[in-house]
């Protein structure tokens, strides 16, 4: 019986997620649909829009769901939430939504990276990403943009600073045994959201 509660909570969260992601992908489709905009829309703008939605979704999840639930003692967010009476961490929320977006096949991808990742796979994949992170660390408010390539494929990438907005983010990263940095404070840049948009030939 106890195990039903988290699953109900999880289902609710996921249905909320689904709505959020649907709305964001609708926005993306609108933004990437060239025939509807004869003048064209720059990838920078598209990345900004997408980032705004992703950021908003994750913030809503963090402050209005996770924090509220934990404060009221309803359910805790933890990394091994599956099979436990728990819900995913905000970072995991972003990973899952990122995966769903990728699986949708629309081409646009986003992921969370950091210079101090708990898991190495979340480190910068390219030199561009490393530099962007360093830049954002120094100047969080200026997103880093650029054109990158893999083989013959070209992509537009925009990297937005990701700050610790909730005490749970800070405490978790400072306490996790695999975390390479343990002195985060509220408002610190903890990583970045990378948005990758394929460029047409």
């Amino acid at each position: 019986m106890e195990r039903d509660n988290p699953s109900v909570a999880q289902r609710r969260i996921f249905s909320l997620l689904a709505i959020l992601i649907l709305s964001s992908s609708l926005a993306l489709e609108a933004a990437t649909d060239p025939p509807s905009t004869p003048k064209g829309i720059s990838p920078e703008k598209v990345a900004d829009y997408v980032h705004a939605i992703v950021e908003a979704d994750r913030n809503v999840y963090t402050t209005h769901i996770v924090k509220r639930m934990q404060d009221q003692g309803v359910v805790m967010a933890r990394e091994d939430w599956e099979g436990k009476n728990a819900i995913p961490l905000p970072a995991q929320f972003l990973h899952y939504s990122s995966k769903i977006v990728a699986e949708s096949g629309s081409g646009i991808r986003f992921r969370l990276i950091s210079l101090w990742p708990i898991y190495l796979r979340n480190g910068p994949a390219t030199e561009f990403e490393r530099k962007a992170l360093e830049q954002l660390n120094a100047n969080p408010n200026v997103p880093q943009r650029g054109i990158v390539a893999t083989g013959k494929k070209q992509f537009f990438q925009a990297v937005y600073a990701d700050k610790g907005i909730s005490s749970s983010c800070i405490t978790c990263h400072n306490a996790h045994p695999l975390s390479p940095k343990r002195d985060f404070k509220m408002g610190d840049v903890m990583g970045a959201v990378v948005i990758t948009i394929p460029l047409e030939d």
Binding site: D80, E82, A125, T150
Partner: protein, 823 residues
């Protein structure tokens, strides 16, 4: 004070108290011990179960965590291969090349390459099985690979059976194994790991690999492009399941049977020190119990290893690995910790056995000591019981001397006291019983004497008609020589004809059933009557409306039955009283005969009187004829003589008719009023000289069956008395009336009456107050006899000088009844 009827139950009871005491000691001592032992056993078992369960759960959880880490480690080290920049560059190029090939040409191309690989084309083989990337793979597998992230050389296990890399079309790009197939795009592991370019790790189910002749499982990882934007290839690594898991699992053993094993959610064993990899657990019902997605322990009906005993099983899922396996193929992996029940509960069962053995010893001691103690308690009680039994039998004995110093001693004193009191009371009772017995004897004797002194025979018979008692009179009547006839059947003694026997039997039966009873006690009237006429056995005649007489030894007996009340539980007997009426009836017959002669005298006097007048007339007329010459006158006188002669002839004719009737009269229906009238006329003619005024008042009456002459005789006697009492004149009143089925005849005179002291004697024979020649003293006696013979009554009431009233009551009975009576 019960005296046991048979000795057996008392023998049984003899040991009862001792047994009870021993039993209660056993109950008090052994039952709590037993219950405590059982409770301790069950509690101990429960606790062992609890403790083992939680330990097993902890062990399962720990092992699951460890294995999770092993898998995660394997995953991350294998993942190092997928971030090889050269490999990624190669695969990116392949991707770009593929994007330039059209779909129509791609399929034949793939087919061509596959054939080349299968035919072991050396050139083609070398592009895949050789080169820097293959070398890299080899180094990795051999354990000589050093990565910046891993400061020490990785000691790779020799568990890898195959390792190869495909590009985004599923073609083999690099392989350590020349036997690997070329195209993989249609295989589950490939599709799952490639995941439409998104890429996700894959861990496959355990299955038998025909190529390697062992159970294997697949780990497949996507190879992402340099931007980690999309998958450009897939790496597959095939592990020997047993070899991969055994080092982490099979080494964990505790006790004789305790071990850890890894199963998947289908119940297939991945690794177990006992069961071979690839087999299924023996009991399928166990699977849902031990494969939830959380750790725990459960008491299960079997052990999964073929045993059917209740087992304690600890379990835990491999939570991290399951995240991958579940998204890959829906299966999950679980740790399973088990130890055999025998071993688990062995110590407590051992303990229980020993405790039970010692407990039995204790019980034995308890029984022995208890028996001794009970015997000490029971022995004085048994002495008391013996004493009480003897007191009960009436054998008073010496006082019991007990010195137990407890309640039993007090009880003994009480018994002694009771004994004394009973002794004194019994003495009084005995003398009383003796007295009563004597009284009963006396009563018996006096009753016998009374009955023997009764002149009438009295016979008492039992329910089966057997004689129970005969009094002296009956013995004499029946002419019995030997006195002892008790038990003889009644009808053997009474020699009777069969119809009479049948009648008597019927009457006995009626008396026994209470229908026929003795007559009611005589009323004062009847008593007076008895005094008036001792010869008249009124009560006998009225007893049942039926005359009971029987002939026995040439004598006539009148008899009467009476019921003898029986003691409780016995059938009532019947008594028979006989009265010899032989002389009585002879006397009565003589009386009637005598009276008839008397009345003949009266009749003769009447006839004389009747004849005298005409005779005087005849004589006078004869004398006149002698002196008369005139023939006319003579003729006239002669006519007178003839007339007188005729009259005399008629008188004589009447007389002869009367006398003839007297002796041969049969019963006919008689009109009482007419008979009275006739009698009155006859008597009046005798008492012509008396100046008596006669008044008659007759009511209409039914005819009665009777002998008219007899009835006339009774009336004549009463009316004659009335006329004789009124010699100086008076009034005679004769009235008839019907009252309640009876005819009442009142004859009242105003004569001189009867002296009060004479009144009781008027019906006695030969009692008379009349002068010599006037009366025989039998008139009223005969009248009484006749009336009572008809079932009627006759009473006289008189006051000196005021006259006499005679009341005759005749019952109106049916003709039939009367005839029967006469017969």
């Amino acid at each position: 004070m019960k005296v046991p009827k048979a000795p057996k139950p008392s023998e049984k009871r003899k040991k009862g108290l001792t047994r009870k005491l021993v039993l209660s000691m056993l109950l008090v001592g052994a039952l709590p011990l037993l219950i405590g032992l059982l409770l301790a056993f069950f509690q101990g078992t429960q606790e062992i179960r609890e403790v083992s369960g939680t330990s097993f759960e902890a062990l399962a959880t720990e092992t699951a965590r460890k294995l999770d880490l092993v898998i995660a480690d394997e995953l991350s080290r294998t993942a190092l291969l997928t971030i090889n920049a050269n490999l990624i560059h190669l695969l990116e190029n392949r991707r770009d090349a593929l994007s330039e090939i059209r779909q129509e040409t791609l399929t034949p191309l793939l087919q061509q390459e596959s054939e080349a690989w299968q035919s072991k084309d050396l050139d083609f083989l070398s592009t895949i099985a050789e080169g820097p990337i293959v070398e890299e793979l080899q180094r990795h597998v051999r354990g000589t690979y050093i990565d910046l992230g891993y400061p020490v050389p990785v000691i790779t296990r020799s568990t890898t059976r195959s390792l190869y890399i495909t590009d985004r079309a599923g073609r083999l790009v690099a392989s350590l194994d020349a036997k690997a197939p070329y195209l993989h795009a249609e295989e589950d592991w490939w599709k799952s790991a490639f995941h439409n370019g998104v890429g996700q790790p894959y861990i496959g189910p355990i299955q038998f690999d025909p190529q390697h002749q062992t159970y294997t499982f697949t780990l497949a990882l996507p190879i992402m492009d340099s931007l980690r934007y999309e998958a450009v290839g897939v790496l597959r690594r095939i592990y020997d399941a047993k070899e991969f898991f055994a080092p982490s699992i099979d080494i964990i053993r505790f006790g004789e049977t305790g071990h850890v094993m890894l199963i998947d959610s289908r119940g297939v064993v991945l690794s177990c020190p006992i069961l071979p990899t690839g087999t299924a657990v023996s009991d399928h019902t166990l699977i849902p119990l031990v494969t939830p997605m959380y750790p725990g322990w459960t008491p299960a009906p079997s052990d999964g290893h073929g045993g059917q005993k209740t087992s304690i099983i600890g379990f835990a899922p491999l939570s991290n690995a399951n995240r991958i396996t579940q998204s890959s193929n829906g299966l999950s992996w679980h740790m399973f910790v088990w130890q055999s029940s025998e071993e688990l509960f062995g110590p407590i069962q051992h303990f229980f056995k020993w405790t039970a053995a010692f407990g039995l010893l204790g019980v034995g001691l308890l029984v022995t000591l208890g028996y001794l103690a009970a015997h000490r308690i029971a022995a004085p009680i048994r002495r008391l019981q013996e004493a009480a039994r003897r007191i009960g039998r009436g054998e008073f004995q010496e006082p019991i001397l007990l010195s137990t110093g407890d309640e039993i001693e007090e009880l003994a004193e009480e018994v002694n006291r009771m004994n004394q009191q009973l002794a004194s009371q019994f003495a009084g009772l005995e003398s009383q019983v003796e007295l009563k017995t004597q009284e009963v004897k006396y009563l018996q004797e006096s009753t016998t004497q009374i009955l023997d002194s009764v002149p009438d025979p009295v016979v008492m018979i039992g329910p089966q008609e057997q004689i129970e008692y005969l009094n002296q009179a009956s013995k004499e009547a029946l002419v019995l020589k030997n006195g002892n006839v008790e038990g003889t059947p009644l009808f053997q003694l009474l020699q009777l004809d069969p119809p009479t026997q049948a009648k008597l039997r019927q009457e006995i039966h009626l008396v026994q059933s209470g229908v026929l009873t003795a007559p009611p006690a005589a009323t004062p009237d009847q008593l007076i009557k008895k005094l008036h006429d001792p010869l008249s056995p009124v009560s006998w005649e009225h007893s049942g409306g039926d005359r009971r007489e029987l002939q026995l030894n040439q004598r006539t007996y009148r008899y009467r039955w009476f019921a003898i009340p029986a003691p409780p539980g016995k059938e009532p007997g019947v008594g028979l009283v006989l009265r010899d009426i032989t002389e009585e009836s002879l006397l009565q017959d003589q009386l009637i005969q005598g009276e008839k002669l008397v009345s003949l005298g009266v009749l003769s006097a009447g006839i004389g009187h009747e004849l005298n007048n005409p005779l005087v007339g005849v004589i006078g007329l004869g004398e006149a004829i002698q002196e008369e010459a005139d023939p006319e006158h003579i003729k006239e006188y002669a006519r007178g003589i003839v007339q007188h002669g005729k009259r005399m002839a008629s008188v004589v004719r009447d007389f002869t008719g009367q006398v003839g009737k007297q002796f041969s009269e049969a019963q006919t229906l008689v009109n009482i009023n007419e008979q009275l009238e006739r009698t009155l006329t006859a008597v009046q003619s005798v008492f012509q000289s008396s100046p008596v005024e006669v008044r008659t008042r007759f009511a209409p009456l039914p005819p009665l069956p009777a002998r008219p002459f007899e009835l006339g005789q009774a009336f004549t006697n009463v009316i004659t008395n009335a006329f004789q009492a009124m010699k100086d004149g008076g009034t005679l009143e004769i009235a008839t009336t019907v009252l309640e089925q009876e005819i009442h005849i009142t004859i009242r005179d105003t004569g001189k009456g009867i002296e009060p002291n004479h009144l009781p004697k008027v019906f006695d024979p030969f009692f008379t107050t009349k002068g010599q020649g006037e009366g025989s003293g039998l008139g009223l006696t005969v009248a009484h006899r006749i009336i009572t013979k008809l079932g009627g009554q006759i009473r006289l009431d008189s006051k000196k000088n005021h006259g006499t009233v005679c009341l005759i009551i005749l019952p109106i009975t049916s003709n039939k009844h009367m005839e029967h009576k006469e017969s």
